[in-house]
């Protein structure tokens, strides 16, 4: 049962071949069996999942056909689900119960999805390995000695370990695509503004975007079709019709021009990985695409630009965690001291680092030199993509700078930041992009093969084309099926 894809579950539940209750029980049992080793969930929502499954069963019994009927979903713990603990992986929100539900989550549930649990993440989505969570360790199901990626590492691990069929992540600079690549999944970040951010606890508002982590492109398209579209509760959500992606899945990509970014090649991922990506590009050609060279001359400034804009926004977004209204409070002699103590105790080192960087970048006297310049660089990067897309329909490149690494391998913050080298430029430009499994390597002396992700990126609102092409590639290569998670002997359910 837990091997089923989201689309298969929905078809089965709608056809009444299997009940939503049975599906929920199977995935809950799987989570109970394996999550002790994986650590994907911060909160398992067993009772809630059963209640949701019962509602789906009743609706299906009443004749409704639901696009995600009975599909178990894992929700990243920076998204609000009314009545559930929503922590952002932080001590400062450890006991906070969300009083409302995020729009994207509400739309999934309305479409028949069943929330199984809230998943671990780097604190406030700041990180690329899940190691910055203050509340737990999440392991990569393909090698428990390695990280699942981040910041949506919990949702990625949950789906990879078959503890949910679809995972919900948020991507600010690569936080869906990188864990997707690390965990042998499709990790899809839609165009900025396509999916409502209402109820997503903000890290960097101008970059954050919710998207799915799935075991197939079709599942990603199904979830996207349900979640996307204008939301009057989010002023940055885009009021423009969504082209459904699930009906646009293709089997070939004949005639498409796919751009390879020239200066990205020099990054030196190592011979084995370089070869894997070369094979991936070759496979795209085999599917009928024409490969063209494109340049993104300013993309190398992406990392520096991102690490000014994102911290600047986060320094303001995270000000509200002050101990006054909710979350952790550490008392002090006066309100000032209460603030200081609460925030000192509540935030971890990476969050503090980014708040400090951002506060500095916005300070009087530095604002023009840092924040304003970063915004200008951001505009230039977006223009580079515009120019590149005049020559091609999609851009292909690696989804991460390496496969999943071992715990504590990136203790220097900058080496961790480099993981998002390939994903940040697309985030700054607001473009839709995904990672899709493209091969396996056995990195740094390990024994288990680890997956690699190919990143595909489309122009703004190009989701249908992007997912369509990724589906053709997935169908041809079937890389995801080559290996199963390394969770040892687990009782079959």
């Amino acid at each position: 049962m837990v091997e089923l894809l989201g689309a298969q579950i929905a078809r089965g539940v709608n056809a009444r071949e299997v009940s939503a209750r049975e599906v929920a029980e199977a995935f809950l049992a799987r989570a109970v069996a394996v999550d002790g080793r994986v650590g994907a969930y911060l909160t398992l929502l067993a009772e809630r999942a059963r209640a949701a499954a019962a509602r789906v069963a009743a609706r299906v019994a009443a004749g409704e056909q639901l696009p995600l009927a009975g599909v178990p979903v894992a929700v990243k713990d920076n998204m609000c689900l009314e009545g559930t603990r929503t922590t952002c992986g932080s001590r400062i929100l450890e006991g906070w119960i969300a009083p409302y539900t995020a729009t994207a989550v509400a739309r999934l549930i309305e479409a028949g999805a069943v929330p199984i649990g809230k998943t671990n993440l780097d604190e406030f989505a700041m990180g690329s390995s899940c190691e910055n969570s203050a509340l737990g360790v999440t392991r990569n199901p393909y090698d428990l000695e390695r990280v699942p990626g981040g910041s949506s590492g919990g949702s990625a691990a949950a789906v990879a370990a078959r503890e949910a069929a679809i995972g919900l992540g948020s991507d600010t600079g690569g936080s869906i695509r990188e864990p997707g690549a690390f965990c042998n999944l499709v990790g899809f970040k839609p165009t900025y503004g396509r999916v409502s951010r209402y109820g997503l606890i903000a890290f960097a508002s101008s970059l954050d975007q919710i998207g799915p982590l799935t075991r197939s492109v079709e599942d990603a398209a199904l979830a996207y079709d349900v979640m996307s579209g204008f939301d009057p509760m989010d002023a940055t959500s885009i009021d423009r019709p969504v082209e459904p992606a699930a009906t646009g899945l293709r089997t070939d990509i004949g005639g498409l021009r796919i751009g390879l970014v020239r200066q990205f090649d020099t990054q030196g991922l190592g011979e084995e990985i370089d070869e894997a990506y070369d094979r991936a590009y070759h496979d795209l050609q085999a599917l009928g695409a024409e490969l063209v060279d494109v340049t993104l001359p300013t993309a190398d400034y992406g990392l520096a630009t991102y690490y000014l804009i994102a911290p600047a926004e986060c320094s303001s977004n995270l000000a509200r965690f002050d101990g006054v209204r909710y979350g952790l409070r550490v008392d002090g002699a006066d309100v000032r001291e209460m603030y200081d103590r609460t925030r000192a105790a509540g935030f971890g080192p990476e969050v503090k680092r980014r708040i400090l960087i951002g506060t500095y970048a916005l300070s009087s006297g530095y604002y023009d030199a840092y924040y304003v310049r970063a915004q200008k660089a951001r505009t230039l990067i977006a223009r580079d993509f515009d120019a590149a897309f005049a020559q091609c329909d999609l851009i292909a490149c690696p989804a991460a700078s390496s496969p999943a690494f071992r715990f504590n391998a990136k203790s220097d913050p900058y080496s961790m930041y480099l993981m998002d080298y390939y994903t940040i430029p697309m985030s700054l430009a607001g473009l839709p992009a995904l990672s899709v499994p493209c091969g396996w390597v056995t990195p740094d002396g390990g024994s288990a093969p680890m997956p690699l992700g190919l990143q595909l990126c489309a122009p703004l609102f190009g989701e249908r084309l992007l997912l369509g092409a990724a589906h053709a590639y997935e169908r041809l290569t079937r890389h995801a099926d080559a290996h199963k998670p390394a969770l040892g002997e687990v009782a079959p359910t």
Partner: protein, 488 residues
């Protein structure tokens, strides 16, 4: 030359005005004064994690209306910025405000003084922001934060749309400052964009005050005065501060830049804090909100709804109608009264007489009965009729007064009453002479007294004649005839 005359006060006024909208600035909570604490709140105005602001179009239109009324420019683009600082009653620890691209730019407030002098004061800026919650400090006895044991916060007010309106420092007396505020208030009331009630906090104002020697070019050191709860107290506080600063300078001291709180009961201001630690608010464009594009069509549509502004009405009443500054102001300060008055003027030829009736007898009746004139049974058409009757000397003022009292009770057209009851003033000398002769004949003793030099009894005789005519005799004619006959 007195010490006071050596100095020129320089005053700038900063106002915060809560805009009148159905809902708050960035969420759907009701925008209403009062209520049980923390009952008009939602995830957005409580700054809950993940909640997002969505701008209220009505508040933006109110801002544009106010800007247009003050003659400000309405730029095609505007945006919201975050003003970052920590404060317990500010839910997000930043305030959504406007920094370098406010909805309106420039403009001025035209105001006038009791003597009819018209002045204007330029605006430094008007911008839109969200209000904060309200703290109540407990355990210190005096409600101050110093020494308090704990504080309670009510977020009902948090997120209410707030217009900040800052004047240039070009007001030079307490009297002018109050007149400026009155003009600002009546303009916003006329536009319907705010209740502008100081007692409910929908208008809050601070004054920046400094003094300089009359021939000095540079401004003196300013202080900021807070905590005024009425226009009167604004006037008193500014006056007191001017006196304090002059006395300080005259005795060789110097003014310290500080914030002072006005103590209304004792009529003094008290230092609250000296020059604040330099705040760095780290303004930056709010990434949760997209820039505002204001179409010219919208601006023109809103301009079309402004109607006649109070200062325009003031000029019409004074310059065109010749009404004095005080009654003109009295009229336009009560908008429904002014509209009633305008309907009368549209029919009646005599605006001054109309103003006298509306502000005099009619207002008295309204006050006595606790009913607004506009809601009374006296229609503008009937009042115009009454005024026309007086104008034409068909009735005298005494009859007019009596008729008005009956009209108040619902008697309807005064013209019909006059005709039906034969109340028209008697201006026929022969008829009046008959009444005079009768009265003189009936009161020989009084006549004798008068002729003996006790001329003060003349009034009694006039009264008797009026009574005999049932009030209808033209009083001027009665006087003239009596005088002639008594002397004769």
């Amino acid at each position: 030359m007195s010490a006071r005359e050596k100095y020129v006060p320089v005053i700038g006024i900063e106002c915060h005005v809560e805009l009148k909208t159905a809902t708050k600035m960035f969420c759907g909570c009701p925008n209403e004064f009062g209520g049980e604490p923390n009952t008009k709140v939602c995830p957005v105005c409580l700054g809950m994690p993940g909640a997002l602001p969505v701008p209220n179009a009505a508040a933006i239109e109110h801002m544009i209306a106010a800007g247009l009324a003050f003659g400000a420019d309405i730029p095609a683009f505007s945006k919201f910025d975050r003003k970052n600082y920590f404060y317990p009653d500010m839910p997000k620890d930043y305030q959504i405000s406007q920094y370098d691209m406010p909805l309106t730019q420039g403009g001025e407030v035209r105001y006038w003084l009791d003597d009819g002098t018209i002045k204007s004061c330029r605006l430094t800026r008007i911008h839109l922001e969200e209000d904060t919650g309200k703290s109540t400090h407990a355990g210190s006895g005096d409600g101050r934060i110093a020494g308090s044991a704990y504080s309670l916060i009510d977020f009902n007010r948090a997120g209410v749309p707030l217009m900040e309106c800052v004047s240039e420092p070009e007001i030079h007396s307490a009297q002018d400052a109050v007149a400026y505020l009155e003009a600002l208030r009546r303009t916003l009331l006329a536009l319907g964009v705010s209740d502008v009630k100081m007692e409910e906090g929908s208008l809050r104002c601070d004054a920046n005050v400094s003094v300089r020697l009359a021939d000095a070019k540079e401004l003196g050191t300013k202080t900021e005065i807070k905590n005024m709860n009425s226009f009167r107290s604004v006037g008193r506080a500014i006056e007191s501060e001017i006196e304090r600063q002059i006395a300080l300078l005259e005795s060789g001291g110097r003014v310290v830049q500080e914030t002072r709180g006005w103590d209304e009961a004792n009529g003094v201001s008290v230092s609250m804090r000296s020059k604040e630690e330099a705040h760095d608010y780290r303004y930056f464009p709010d990434p949760d909100l997209v820039p505002l594009e204001i179409s010219r069509e919208d601006v023109e549509r809103i301009r079309g709804t402004l109607g006649e502004l109070p200062w325009q009405r003031y000029e019409r009443y004074t310059a065109e109608y010749g009404i004095g500054p005080k009654p003109a102001t009295q009229l336009l300060d009560n908008l429904s009264l002014a509209r009633y008055f305008d309907r009368i003027v549209a029919i009646s030829a005599n605006p001054q007489q109309s103003a006298n009736f509306v502000l005099g007898d009619l207002s008295r009746l309204a006050n006595e009965n606790g009913i607004a004139i506009a809601d009374s049974k006296v229609s503008p058409e009937h009042l115009a009729e009454l005024i026309a009757l007086v104008e034409a000397k068909t009735i005298n003022s005494k009859i007019a007064k009596e008729l008005l009292a009956r009209m108040w009770e619902g008697a309807g057209s005064p013209k019909a009453l006059v005709e039906g009851e034969g109340l028209a003033q008697t201006s026929d000398p022969a008829a009046i002479e008959g009444f005079v002769d009768d009265v003189l004949a009936a009161n020989p003793g009084v006549v004798a007294d008068y002729r003996a030099g006790k001329t003060n009894v003349g009034g009694f005789l006039v009264g008797q004649v009026m009574k005999a005519s049932r009030g209808k005799a033209d009083p001027a004619l009665v006087n003239a005839l009596l005088a002639r006959k008594l002397q004769g």
